[in-house]
Symmetry: C4
Subunit: 356 residues, 4 copies
């Protein structure tokens, strides 16, 4: 937006200047640093004036840029994902549907979660679009994402799942009432008219704890292994899925996990996608969300972290040639012998590389 | 097309020159300006001679370039969308189909609308491919699309929906007769053999007005929120869906809305896609198109506008850092205190930026 | 392949030189010109030596480069398309299939034809990948494809359909025998155990001739209209589907036509895809392939030409601003008053532009 | 990673230097040469220091870079592919699934194998992502891939299939027990509760040996024919599917083969995908894996080689103009008359071109 006339008008958006612009900026930087984020918000140069605008909200938002991105990314992901389960479950066998057999089938749910992840990534470009605490953690450990960002990302992702599932609940409340048999009935599997599986995952009956864990573990490991392959510029590049291709590849990956590893435990593979909606369903009155499946609820909290770490380490062991602790002497475990020294070294490097 | 010989032949298309070319051009400019369009039609330089050709139709078409693009874009969109509903509904359960169970299922309809939007966008590149009055309006309010274009775009989109659904009706008239039970029967849901839902949306039974509204509202809000994300060059670019990727992403988005938010009210999310075909179905003899669902017809006229505006404002509040009234002081609401002044300022800026 | 040593070995493929290379080349050129093709075969510079190799077959193949491309393109297209119908039809309801209900459903057929067209285009890049006589014809009339190429392309496309359907027949002969009830039974719809629809299209029962024609006409018109939009560089480019995107967009388009306009007559929209396989099914013993549906067989021969021409003319009338007879004075119809003169002019231009 | 401070820390991954770096490198080169691989591992320049790191595993891995890529590529491919069959088969008709009819249908299996191949290719970029011994062989014969690499690639691919199917078995062991009726029952088709088809392919009943062979042969031929077309830069380039498009096109191709040529024998088209899992299923206790279908097991071992060779030769005969023995005089068969001389020539060329 060139300003040949030099005149600033109220309709000329975002170009207002303030004498205290510098002070504002320094407030933003300091607030961001306290949250574990990089002092400078990721705003492209053309839009940079917005950070200095007189709009207080704009300043506040600049502080929370990446957490907001993760929040809305997970929110949209869960809207589509939980929405697809709700639609398929509630309309099951409805004969007035076009085609005479409900508004979708199990594949619609694979589509739904695939769309959710893909579109969520487009929304969360500012933060790296992790959308999953286990993926965030693995990137902290193996890909130099500063650990300080983990807590705020985790919180934002969790809240995104919580609110996203609330939107789905609000949208389908009529259908849930009709399916359960009344507005006061809110049941979870294996109750015959349960709708709890709309929000979070429940395992198949008679599945051992080990199988529950293994199912979430292996799906998370594949998830991380493939993501690292897709992002590995050293993996010869000829089939590169970077840039615009990445969300599409993730769509295929999530769809694939749902079609191939979704039966045992419903492919949670993500604390934010499971615990957030589980808490929401608890809040709106579902009973048994914690005890179902032999207190299964902790599996999708723990297994994805184990699985993603395993998958990430395996990729670095087997294929990755770039900078990773795995490629350092003693697989980087030497750091554990002198933890304080290692942390100081790491900090120094992160500052040098402009990561914090 | 080089003209080394300098000779112009009748077979040498589009190169004819006329003495009154300048006069023609000025007529075109003036007619376009009256319609609220930019004086110069969006024609690439290589094709520019066409505007001056002696073909009267070509001149007329240059005047209506963008409205024609919106018209045909919506027409193709509705042909695919309504066509898929017609095929699935009318062939329901047909045992002579390959596979023994009709020519498609509910997912075919998700595909159909997805294809329709994607292919409609390829056709309506000239006008920006809004294909939806609510999206046009939100772009006027938040993205500097001049308000003057709104009426003619709305009209073109509405007519596209009207004619597109007429083509589908003509194509499937035999099947509709057979399904309804005779050429004089044209019923809408919840009649047992209703075919009215081929053309426009009807809500599920027993859905409250609030739920009807909320369903259209939330789907429209997600639609606009994601579209703004896809178009936001400041959203870090690494997952950019601009250029060739945009129609593909829209395909996924529309498919997703149908798979995840399509049950309650059939995801109209577009006045042109609902009111146009509704009027066509009324014109060809369907009874009850207005009163069905408790006079539901106004919901897909009003809710998409509210939802798209909400989704657009939310995106600008939460993520967008570029030029938007939301990013101006007082969220741009100051303009409301001096409306005349604000309109003059806006006009000045639009002229400076070459938008009108 | 650099040859630093200058030594030519028998293993050094394709680099042999012959004294009579020039004579060979001139033979190739002359043979190609007689077939209506451009004298020079479309071979990239790096591969150009191949044309001069001593391998007689290589020379022969250079003569038929484009027809071979169309032949194999249509062959692959029909292999996938007819193969999908065969698989879905013959395995219908088979309970031992994974999932317990056959090896695919109607949507598999939409996928199959979509894949066929997409992969066929990758194979037929040399010739422009028309794969359809009606599309070839429309390009001759509106996009300067020389008319002289039409006959040989038509023949190649027809033979591709003929042989491709023969491969499908050979592959599924056991299944056809089992489905029909014996190796001597080969029936077409509406016979209860008919398998004739594997190869070519048959209309729904009780469809009037007008509806049969209209269904093929409208699907062909949409096909051509959208293809012209996808190829129109003047259609603002922002949603361009050129280059690598084109086959993907065609995949969506063909899938969409099958999902939305496939019920009445099975979306033949292509003489080569329908008449070629129809003749093959007649040759292997199917009875009634010509008389079925009230001698329906001529509809998919004639309607696609009419529909594609209509769709192409409509696009040029409504949107296209580039060189087209429609954009010439009197819509190019003036040529009809002096046909001989027009043909001479056209030839001159084609030679100037290097098209013949 | 710039090192402005010049200081090396333990946290500064992968930058350690060793005096014996040269010796290490020469060990790696020599070990790789013994395995038939190119002496230098395919590592991009930015990552090249990793090869010299003090981490012994990193050195070992550099030796096996391409085989590891093929191993993990096939492993992931089989995880998704066999996983999808397992999920669809074991959940067949389950009424508690959302939608009320199991967790997927036959199409999910087409998706699964398509995803598997696509994601496997992203993982195996280092080695060329053949993932199939028959494709490797055809590339050795027609595309200058050194024959010496064939054995180690074959072994890696086979092991990938073996381990991948083991992971699927471990993940679904509960479901297999429930479906078969007990932990000691492991049956193959046509047993009524057989689960053997999860791992490897079994033919339809009553299919002649010729039809079994032809089905695998034709699917493999199409596979190779289309892959060569996708990789042919001389095929005019306008529809090029190179680079990022290649895995997507392969996804469509594999999905298509499953949807159109998957009924007779389950589209094995790959020894590694069939024999590896077959051996695993034999190892875990399935009975009849060798004798089923009239000792069908050798068909997917032999037919893919024949089919891929045929498809590759056909493409080179019909369309390819680049360097191939088919384009040499006498179709390269002259080499057979003086085999020793031909091998020496070939070696010389390979060294000159840097292939070995």
């Amino acid at each position: 937006m060139a300003h040949p006339s030099g005149r600033t008008t109220s309709a000329d958006w975002s170009s207002s200047n303030f004498n205290d612009a510098d002070r504002t900026t320094s407030h933003v930087h300091s607030a961001r640093a306290h949250l574990g984020l990089h002092p400078t918000a990721p705003i492209i140069e053309e839009h940079d004036t917005a950070e200095h605008a007189g709009n207080v909200w704009v300043k506040f938002r600049a502080v929370l840029k990446e957490p907001l991105a993760e929040f809305f990314g997970v929110l949209i992901m869960v809207c589509f994902g939980d929405g697809s389960v709700a639609q398929v479950l509630l309309s099951q066998g409805q004969m007035t549907a076009p085609g005479g057999n409900g508004y979708g089938d199990y594949q619609s749910i694979n589509w739904g979660w695939g769309f959710g992840v893909m579109l969520g990534m487009y929304i969360a470009g500012d933060s790296g679009a992790y959308l999953n605490p286990a993926i965030t953690l693995t990137n902290c450990l193996l890909r130099k994402l500063p650990w300080r960002r983990f807590p705020i990302y985790l919180l934002a992702q969790f809240l995104g799942g919580f609110i996203g599932s609330g939107i789905v609940y609000a949208n389908y409340i009529n259908g849930i009432n009709a399916f359960e048999g009344g507005p006061n009935l809110r049941t979870v599997p294996p109750a015959p008219k349960a709708t709890g599986a709309i929000f979070c995952t429940y395992p198949q009956d008679d599945l051992t704890k080990a199988s529950q864990f293994f199912s979430e573990f292996i799906a998370s490991a594949i998830l991380m292994f493939v993501i690292f392959a897709l992002k590995d510029i050293g993996n010869k590049g000829q089939f590169s899925a970077s840039g615009s291709w990445f969300p599409l590849a993730l769509f295929f990956l999530i769809f694939g996990l749902g079609a191939c590893f979704g039966w045992n435990t419903g492919y949670a593979i993500n604390l934010a996608r499971d615990l957030g909606p589980r808490l929401m369903s608890y809040a709106v009155g579902y009973r048994g969300v914690w005890s179902a499946g032999g207190y299964y609820f902790w599996i999708p909290m723990v297994a994805p972290f184990c699985g993603c770490l395993f998958g990430g380490v395996l990729y670095d062991l087997a294929i990755f040639t770039g900078p990773s602790p795995i490629n350092a002497p003693w697989f980087g475990l030497k750091e554990l012998t002198k933890p304080r020294h290692a942390i100081e070294d790491r900090k120094e490097i992160q500052q040098r590389d402009g990561l914090v």
